[in-house]
């Protein structure tokens, strides 16, 4: 599990059908693990990029997950539009698996560790996390961090982490948190339309 339970020495609560505080990102992290090249995860050979086949595998895994959601839906009517939708998502993920992006931009684990914590006593009733929308104090062990942006925007650590691992910007003001990595020029085919593009 994530750092939250470890940090506070608590067991994750059985959650039954209660709403979860945030989306299930297990798939996301498993996926990211293979293609994350930030900080200490940087490969020995600095020119080495994640294997395109690993990036592809990540997309393919998600496609498989969606495919499972389709068939687990029980009733499959010919006119089931959500089933149709998932079908198209799967198709576009498979497309991305065939044309993976060269590298994942994002902050390192070290960067996340040194983010400024906001102690519980400084949190107010009316302060909430902009990502999950929940009041920080609704959580009995809030783990809140401040980003080094102009607005010093605060988030649940667990909510902001996945975002800045992929996109090193503050979600509120879009301020860049770290310098952009230099990425090799994209492959010449300008067929941007193929990427994830069943939907705009």
């Amino acid at each position: 599990m994530s750092g939250y339970e470890v940090e506070h020495g608590i067991q994750p609560q059985p959650q039954d059908q209660q709403p979860r505080r945030r989306p299930d990102l297990t798939t996301f992290f498993a996926t990211l693990d293979h293609v994350d090249t930030s900080g200490a995860r940087q490969p020995q050979n600095t020119h080495a990029l994640p294997m395109p086949r690993d990036i592809s595998a990540a997309f393919r895994n998600l496609a498989n997950a969606y495919e499972m959601m389709r068939s687990s839906d029980g009733h499959v009517e010919p006119s089931d539009s959500s089933d149709e939708l998932l079908g198209r998502l799967v198709e576009s993920l498979m497309e991305s698996a065939e044309h993976p992006p060269p590298e994942v931009q994002g902050v390192s684990d070290e960067y996340i560790e040194q983010l400024e914590r906001v102690p519980k006593k400084k949190l107010r009733e009316n302060m909430s996390c902009p990502i999950c929308g929940n009041a920080f104090l609704e959580d009995s062990h809030p783990l809140v961090v401040k980003l080094p942006c102009q607005g010093e925007h605060a988030f649940d650590l667990e909510c902001i982490q996945p975002w800045i691992k992929l996109n090193p910007t503050c979600p509120m003001d879009r301020q860049q948190l770290i310098k952009k990595k230099t990425v090799p020029p994209p492959p010449p085919d300008e067929e941007d339309g193929e990427y994830d593009e069943m939907f705009g």
Binding site: Q18, P23, C132
Partner: protein, 153 residues
């Protein structure tokens, strides 16, 4: 069977019902709370005025880390919307942020109807027509709106 919904999705859905945005509605499916039937009215004064456009919206597993998936079901003549209803809108792509919400995205889409941008086209043919003969393009957009986007009672 299905995993419980994150609170954020529940809150957003409640707010969409309780404080609806004028000219916009989004209703989740009974059997899939991540899949919404969306209706957007063409903005007044635009060539889509009087039209009621249906869209489908899907919240992926990792929403709000990734943007909602959304597309037009109703046919529309617009330089930034292609034949399949896919939408070219920065906030659905590189400019997505988890601080954005379903309602902000739908407002952006409604604004896009009021301000077609042929310089950033998704539909090359429509964008070309828009640049070469705007009056004709706007006339076609009005005709399509009357033909495909009139509300079914």
């Amino acid at each position: 069977m299905a995993a419980p919904l994150p609170k954020r999705i529940i809150k957003e859905t409640e707010r969409l019902q309780n404080e609806p945005v004028p000219g916009i509605s989004a209703l989740p499916h009974d059997d899939n709370a991540r899949y919404f039937d969306v209706m957007v009215e063409g903005p007044g004064g635009s060539c889509y005025e009087g039209g009621v456009f249906n869209l489908e919206l899907f919240l992926p597993d990792d929403y709000p880390m990734t943007a909602p998936k959304i597309r037009f079901l109703t046919r529309i003549y617009h330089p930034n919307i292609d034949r399949l209803g896919r939408i070219c809108l920065d906030v659905l792509k590189n400019n997505w942020s988890p601080a954005l919400q379903i309602r902000t995205i739908l407002l952006s889409i409604q604004a896009l109807l009021g301000a077609p941008n042929p310089e950033d086209p998704l539909n090359e043919a429509v964008a070309k027509q828009w640049k070469e003969n705007q009056a004709e393009a706007i006339k076609t957009a009005r005709e399509w709106t009357a033909l495909y986007a009139t509300a079914k009672k």
